[in-house]
């Protein structure tokens, strides 16, 4: 902008500071001190420029979402709280307690204890079932590796993200909680939305 001013001031400075020739010394450059009119422009001009945007948007109306009364819809592949599934026809649990999800989990938040099925009173379709299936959601990082690891599509990531609680212990979800049909409180984003 004002190259000539710079070079002239530099020349002035160099006569005052004999060290300037040493390249290690860096001179601080300042713009000109604003005068009375310039100061007024600084105080109001930029503000008005900002307000122009504000007033231009007023006609569009507010975009605030009134959470929790209102919710953002999530994408279909959103990774929320896990769900365990049953076979629709037989009602048996899909999970056989193989613990592969626990092996895949980088946060080490899944605990599976398997047991043998009683052929008279089956819990799952295979020889074994998960007697205990717990996910500590306080540790979970919602990476979805458990879903990928599952050989029986027994665990999937749901859409629910409102998991906060007052007590860490309540964040350990048991098999019954994960199997239960969750209250679908999260709206799903429709195609093209």
């Amino acid at each position: 902008m004002n190259n000539s001013a710079d070079s002239s001031s530099e020349a002035e400075v160099s006569s005052e500071f004999p060290y300037l020739e040493d390249e290690s010394v860096v001179a601080v450059q300042r713009g000109p001190e604003p005068g009375g009119l310039g100061g007024a422009y600084r105080a109001f001009g930029e503000t008005l420029r900002g307000l122009k945007t504000t007033f231009a948007r007023i006609v569009e109306g507010p975009v605030t979402i009134q959470y929790p009364e209102e919710k953002t819809p999530v994408y279909p592949r959103f990774r929320g709280r896990h769900k365990l599934h049953r076979f629709e026809d037989t009602g048996l649990e899909k999970c056989v307690g193989c613990s592969l999800c626990a092996a895949a989990c980088p946060a080490d938040c899944i605990r599976v204890v398997a047991a043998e099925n009683d052929p008279e009173d089956r819990v799952s379709a295979g020889e074994r079932y998960a007697e205990i299936y717990e996910i500590n959601l306080a540790r979970c990082i919602f990476c979805g590796y458990c879903e990928v690891a599952c050989p029986f599509d027994a665990i999937t990531m749901g859409h629910e993200y409102e998991i906060a609680d007052y007590n860490r212990d309540d964040l350990i979800f048991t098999k019954e909680m994960l199997l239960a049909e969750p209250l679908e409180r999260t709206p799903l984003r429709r195609e093209g939305e």
Binding site: G97, C98, A103, E116
Partner: protein, 839 residues
């Protein structure tokens, strides 16, 4: 044995040095080349080349060769990565997977499965198979402890080979042919054998799974904790599989110098005892006739007060599962703090104890002399010496029951090395079948037999026996090769062994004695001073009473307090229920016990005991190997380390031990036991170290130092090994007396607390049985299954008759350790009367 010469071969272009005669699979490992295998397992003996997974190309041989059964030769050129090899290996995997179900997620082997690993590493990656797979009924029990899934089986023969060639029970077979081949037993009978749990570990797929471990954990859920099993003197090295601080299974931790990588079922399934919910987990004090929970401070104070009052009228019984540290501290408290010499760890005596007729209380000099001579480092054989010995004598014990892993080791020596086996026992032994010579002597006459054997071997000072005994001894002597014999022996009265050892030149390399002690850590406890006749390091001490002496003294009131460290004398010691009365009379019984048992019912103070899975300390193997117990699981409830409790008890009684950690306790032992000098946990390490191989072994007491000094006035000390067979020791021809049988006893493998406390093993708990020869049974009018009463001197035991062809006429056998009085009948002439008809 000299190491075989080393040769060089070329594997994939890399020069590899390997021992001559090694199989190519093993040799390739020296050059970091892995050749995949399924059926190959060196522990099983000769390779069979059944699975064809290990095929490689060898220069000069047109066809592919199995690396597991091809010994290497100098200059051999081998390729393991050529297209031809890869194609063949991938085809083998594909064929194996044709019928293998893809149920890895439910299979217990998943994650630790060689088939998974090999299929990933060498398999084709995709299946081309579209046809239905072979189907079997699954899973079905192969035995009460093992389930078999035949669909998963890849027919590698490992389990069948184990059954046929290692355990030699010959129950498992491959049945049918071709694609319908399956593993099973004749007529689908359950596979019941004492070592059959090993096939679970051998199976390279999930076809054989442990019923107790079924679905309990996956490999990534668990931690391995290496320790030593202290359920019997074998002291096998084990790995505990721990999940969520609970033991879920036990695996072998191969140690060729101890167990060869095998475990017995007691060790494999006995872990359930440590996890039992019935364990005592806090100190108990008797108040108003009932045991009530108390804090440690209160219980220790109560125990200390009682012991202080009893003072030198205290006796300690240290049970066989105690560690060296427990035993050492217990004897130190009793000897030093209380001034009592009565410390015992042997349920029925040990080497050098005189025969029953002198009441088991011979002069101390001889007792120590016998110990010092027979356990001397120069006469000690190691377990691996059995592999090299040209002849083996099993004397007075049936290793299957007393030290099970030794049974497999002896079978291996006979099968693979052609060792000549001689068995001399009172009761027919399971090793008889493979023995070149067997001899039976009458129960209780082992001393006479050994002396006769020494005479036949030409030892000076022994008289040759006449008649059957002499002939038997001569046959046995003929089977033994001087300079290369290992004698596996047990029994209280074996003085003649000193003569045998001299005549057989057992001091030579690769020959020697292995004594099977009664307790799991019998040898260690003896060496740290839990003997009435010797202190730590078999040092000279004031002589105390032995087990039966302690019992009598408690009964008579001359002893007032008893300290029972991991011991249940009512179950385990001779006299059985008589101990109950004796303990009942004691003013203070301090029991350290895992469970409420017959002895804790008489106890005034009970300290909860640790299980072997929680213990930290050392034990000494019968061949002198010091091994480390490492804690694998935390102590349940208020259980505390025993060394800590005993050190505190000692401090309360005024004996400051300075022991503040397990290594301190070992250091205290090492400072008092000269031949353990300087030993530390680090030196013992994971596989243990035999003290005979350390420099400190030269501090073993000298034989001439003993004896003279320990002479007890009024009793003549017989020089060891000079005793001729006692009169009447002609083999005990008891059958001349009508209706009278001489009874011997044996400790059945399963007559142990661990059987009752482990749900998986409970079905094996034995019932008292009287084994009789067919002739005696006929003469007494008894049939198999008859209930009888066996009586002598007012002691009677009820038993069920079981007739055995190989029992010596005139002998009968009862099982010890079942809580009845059978052990008191050992060596007695008994009357037998019918008590009921067969059920």
């Amino acid at each position: 044995m000299p190491d075989p010469p080393r040769i060089t071969l070329l594997v994939d272009g890399v020069e590899v040095e390997a021992p001559h005669g090694a199989m190519l699979v093993d040799a390739a490992k020296h050059g970091d080349v892995e050749i995949p295998v399924f059926c190959y397992e060196p522990k099983l003996g000769h390779p069979v080349g059944a699975c064809r997974m290990c095929v490689v190309e060898i220069e000069g041989i047109p066809k592919l060769q199995t690396a597991c059964s091809t010994p290497v030769r100098d200059g051999m050129v081998v390729y393991t990565q050529t297209e031809r090899v890869k194609e063949a290996q991938s085809a083998v995997v594909e064929f194996l997977l044709v019928n293998h179900p893809l149920d890895c997620p439910v299979c217990d082997k998943g994650g630790e499965c060689p088939l998974q690993d090999v299929a990933m590493g060498w398999g084709p990656g995709r299946s081309r198979s579209v046809d239905p797979k072979r189907h079997f009924q699954k899973p079905i029990p192969l035995s009460p402890l093992i389930k078999i899934d035949r669909e998963r089986c890849i027919l590698c023969y490992r389990c069948v080979r184990f059954s046929q060639e290692v355990a030699e029970d010959e129950q498992l077979q491959l049945l049918e042919r071709g694609s319908s081949t399956f593993v099973g037993t004749f007529d689908n009978r359950p596979y019941i054998a004492p070592f059959h749990g090993n096939i679970i570990e051998l199976c390279p797929v999930g076809a054989l799974t442990s019923d107790a471990y079924r679905f309990r954990a996956r490999p990534w859920d668990i931690e391995d904790a290496g320790t030593v099993c202290t359920l019997c003197p074998s002291q096998c090295n084990i790995k505990l599989t721990v999940r969520d601080e609970r033991i879920e299974r036990v695996l072998a931790r191969d140690n060729v110098d101890v167990d060869d990588g095998w475990l017995c079922d007691k060790g494999r399934f006995g872990y359930q005892m440590a996890e039992s919910g019935q364990r005592i987990t806090e100190p108990l004090i008797r108040a108003g006739g009932e045991l009530r929970p108390a804090g440690w401070a209160e219980a220790l104070e109560a125990a200390a007060a009682g012991l202080r009052e009893a003072g030198e009228r205290t006796a300690a019984i240290v049970g066989g599962s105690s560690s060296n540290e427990d035993g050492y501290l217990a004897q130190r408290i009793v000897r030093k703090a209380l001034g009592s010499p009565h410390v015992e760890s042997r349920p029925s005596g040990g080497p050098g104890v005189e025969s029953r007729r002198t009441g088991g209380r011979g002069p101390a000099g001889f007792l120590r002399q016998g110990l010092v001579e027979l356990s001397a480092p120069r006469l000690a054989a190691s377990v691996s010496d059995l592999d090299r010995a040209e002849s083996i004598l099993v004397l007075g014990t049936d290793p299957l029951h007393s030290m099970p892993i030794l049974d497999l080791r002896i079978r291996k020596a006979v099968r693979l090395r052609g060792a000549r086996l001689a068995v001399a026992t009172d009761r027919p032994s399971v090793l008889d079948g493979g023995a070149e010579e067997t001899a039976r002597y009458a129960p209780g006459f082992v001393g006479g037999f050994v002396s006769a054997l020494a005479a036949e071997l030409g030892a000076a000072g022994y008289e040759r026996a006449r008649g059957e005994l002499g002939a038997d001894a001569e046959r046995i002597a003929g089977a033994l090769k001087p300079g290369s014999t290992v004698i596996v022996w047990a029994g209280p009265d074996a003085r003649g062994l000193v003569g045998c050892a001299r005549a057989l030149r057992l001091e030579e390399d690769g020959a020697g004695l292995i004594e099977v002690p009664e307790g799991a850590n019998g040898r260690g406890l003896r060496e740290v001073g839990c003997l009435p006749v010797a202190g730590p390091g078999l040092s000279d001490v004031e002589q105390g009473l032995d087990a039966s002496g302690i019992r009598d003294a408690l009964e008579a009131g001359s002893l007032e307090a008893a300290l029972l460290v991991n011991a249940d004398p009512i179950r385990d010691f001779a006299g059985g229920p008589a101990w109950g009365e004796a303990l009942g009379k004691a003013k203070l019984v301090l029991a350290v016990s895992m469970f409420e048992d017959a002895s804790t019912r008489q106890a005034d103070v009970v300290f909860p005991a640790e299980s072997y899975a929680e213990k930290e300390g050392t034990v000494t193997h019968p061949d002198g190997r010091l091994q480390r117990l490492r804690p694998g699981t935390p102590h349940p409830g208020g259980v505390r380390p025993m060394w800590e409790v005993l050190a505190e008890l000692g401090a309360l009684l005024g004996e400051e031990t300075g022991v503040e950690s397990a290594p301190d306790a070992l250091a205290a032992i090492a400072s008092e036991v000269p031949f353990y000098a300087g030993i530390s946990h680090e030196e013992i390490g994971g596989t243990g170290i035999r003290w005979q191989e350390r420099a400190a072994a030269r501090y073993w007491p000298r034989v001439d130092d003993v004896g003279a000094r320990d002479e007890v006035p009024g009793r003549e000390v017989e020089p060891a090994g000079r005793t001729a067979p006692e009169p009447g020791d002609t083999g005990g021809r008891a059958e001349d007396v009508d209706g009278v049988i001489r009874v011997g006893t044996y400790r059945d493998l399963w007559a142990a607390e661990v059987t009752d406390r482990s749900p998986a093993l409970r079905f094996l708990a034995p019932r008292q049985a009287l084994e009789l020869a067919p002739r005696d049974a006929a003469r007494l009018g008894l049939g198999s299954g008859h209930e009888v009463e066996v009586r002598s001197n007012g002691t009677s035991v009820r038993a069920r008759v079981s007739i055995h062809e190989r029992v010596k006429p005139g002998s009968g056998f009862l099982i010890e350790g079942l809580g009845d009085r059978a052990a008191s009948l050992r060596g007695e002439l008994v009357e037998i009367s019918k008590a009921g008809e067969p059920e």
